[in-house]
Symmetry: C2
C-alpha cells in the first residue's frame, strides 16, 4: 500500500489553481525545470524547493510515526 505519488498531486493542484508550470515556478521562486521534475516524481529535487512549491499550492506536509501518534 501507499504507492502514493506526489507528482500527480502537485499537477492536479496546480491545474485547479489555474496555473501553468511557469507561473507556479515563478510564484514559488524556483525554475520551471524544478516544477516539471516534481510533477514527474523526480525525488532528487531539493527539499526546500519542493516545500516552496507545496506552499504556493496550499499543500501541507505532515510527518507521522508510531511514536508521534
Amino acid at each position: 500500500m501507499n504507492d502514493f505519488e506526489l507528482g500527480p498531486m502537485v499537477k492536479d493542484h496546480r491545474k485547479k489553481a489555474g496555473l501553468t508550470q511557469l507561473e507556479l515556478a515563478n510564484l514559488a521562486g524556483v525554475g520551471k525545470t524544478t516544477v516539471f521534475d516534481i510533477e514527474k516524481n523526480k525525488e532528487t529535487v531539493r527539499w526546500n524547493n519542493l516545500l516552496a512549491v507545496l506552499r504556493v499550492l496550499n499543500i501541507k506536509v505532515e510527518f507521522k510515526s508510531p511514536l508521534t501518534k
Copy 2:
C-alpha cells in the same frame, strides 16, 4: 502556528532507535553530513535523501490540502 521542526523530530526518533548519526546515515545510504544537516533543519537537502532517512526511522510523510480532505 505550526513552526514544526523536522530536525529535532528526526533526532528524537534516532535516539529512541538507539542509533548514532553515522549508523543512521549508513542504514539510509547517505553521508553522515546529510544526517547532521537534516537534524539541523537544513532544508536544502535532497528530497530522496530525506526520504531515505525517514524510512529508516519509520516516519511517514503525508500531504494534505483542502482539496485532499
